[in-house]
Each structure stands twice: as C-alpha cells, then as structure tokens.
C-alpha cells in the first residue's frame, strides 16, 4: 500500500490526526482542507451506492510526492501538505479524498489546496468503478471543471 493510500473510506480518526498541528510547530496560521465524497449520482435510472477505487500504488507514491514538491516550490508560504486517497470500496456519502495545506497565511493555503486538488485529479493514477443499486458497475472518468 502506498503511503498516500488507505483501504476503504477515510475516517474521522485519520482526519482528526492529520488536522492536529505538528508538535511545537505553530508557524502555520492558515489551514485549507478539501474533502471529496462519493456522490449518490443517478446514471440511466440507476443510483450509485459505492465506488470501487483501484490504483497503481507505486506510481501514486511517486506522483503524490512530485505534486507535493511542486506545490511547495510554487508557494513559498506553504508549510505542509497532507494528501490521502482511498482505494477499494467507498460508499456513497463517504470520504475518498482528503487534502490539507497549511501556510503562514490564508491566501496561499487556499490557492495551494485548490491547485493540489487539480493536480491530483490530473496526475494521480487512480481509477473508479461506479457500483449501482442493481449491482451493475461502470468505469468512470473525471470530468473537466
């Protein structure tokens, strides 16, 4: 399992742990968080009940590290970035992506978090198979903004 992946949904315990500031390090005055949830979409009269995520684990590791390095290089006020994505089954309403950026001030925290999410969508080798209420499934692609 890559260090940026968790099996199944991202739970409150993990997010609470990630939200805690590093011990003795209080130079980040602003933290921006993005949480992605599985939507209960309807597709041709069928309702999404879950997404089965699959990933190229080793490449997720290398690409996530590159994304974090790119954000840190592009935003000189950013202090830390956390990135967690689910693999395996995540039910509708459950959390599959958690991105957190801490910076000295709010503007870079918000902008860097937004850019990190876009880079994750574009570059992280993860695929989703939507599971419907009739037990059928379909591979889906990300749509542009």
């Amino acid at each position: 399992m890559a260090e940026y992946l968790v099996e199944g949904p991202i739970d409150n315990e993990l997010m609470t742990r990630l939200l805690a500031p590093p011990a003795g390090n209080f130079d980040a005055g602003a933290t921006s968080v993005f949480i992605g949830r599985v939507r209960a979409d309807e597709n041709g009269g069928k309702k999404v009940v879950a997404i089965e995520y699959s990933a190229y684990d080793e490449m997720v590791n290398s690409e996530a590290t590159k994304i974090i390095d790119q954000i840190l290089a592009g935003f000189n006020n950013v202090k830390s970035i956390s990135l967690i994505h689910s693999r395996g089954r995540v039910g509708a309403g459950e959390i599959s992506l958690f991105v957190m950026v801490s910076a000295g001030h709010r503007r870079q925290a918000i902008e860097a978090c937004s850019e990190a999410v876009e880079l994750i969508k574009a570059r992280l080798p993860v695929w989703k198979n939507e599971v419907y209420d009739d037990n059928s499934h379909e591979w889906k692609q990300n749509l542009p903004l």
Binding site: G36, Y56, V126, W127, K140, N142
Partner: protein, 77 residues
C-alpha cells in the same frame, strides 16, 4: 528479455487480468503489437503508457525487467 505489463481500470477487464509478462519485446510499440494481437479490443480505448512508473510518449526502448503499465484516463478524487 522479459517485461512485466500492468493493466489498470477498464483495461484490466479487457485483458482479463491486471498483470502479464511478455518476452522478446524490444520497445513499447512492439509490445503494443503483441498486446493488440492478444486483445484486439484494446484499440477502442484511450490510455497512457508508463515505463517504470514514468509516463512515456512515442516508441520507447524496453529492457529486461522493465515494468510497463497501460492506464486509462485517471479518475481520482
């Protein structure tokens, strides 16, 4: 020489497996010819290719032990 080939997303369904090994393929183009022989439906899908976890474009020479992945458009988030 032998390379490890990984299939992801819908391509794993097309191939009926997520991993295969191919011998005597000197480049990604030659590997693709072998794969299309094995799975003619491959031509109907968009995908990117990586060699040793780096995206590649065009024909790339392959060495013994390389890991090649065929990846449909990413869908994280």
């Amino acid at each position: 020489m032998e390379v490890k080939v990984l299939f992801f997303g819908v391509l794993a369904d097309v191939a009926g497996t997520s991993v295969r090994h191919y011998g005597d393929v000197g480049s990604t183009d030659r590997l693709m010819i072998r794969i299309q022989d094995d799975f003619p439906e491959f031509i109907h899908y968009n995908f990117r290719t990586s060699v040793n976890r780096e995206i590649v474009n065009g024909d790339v020479l392959l060495n013994d032990g390389d890991e090649v992945a065929f990846m449909p458009p990413f869908a994280g988030g």
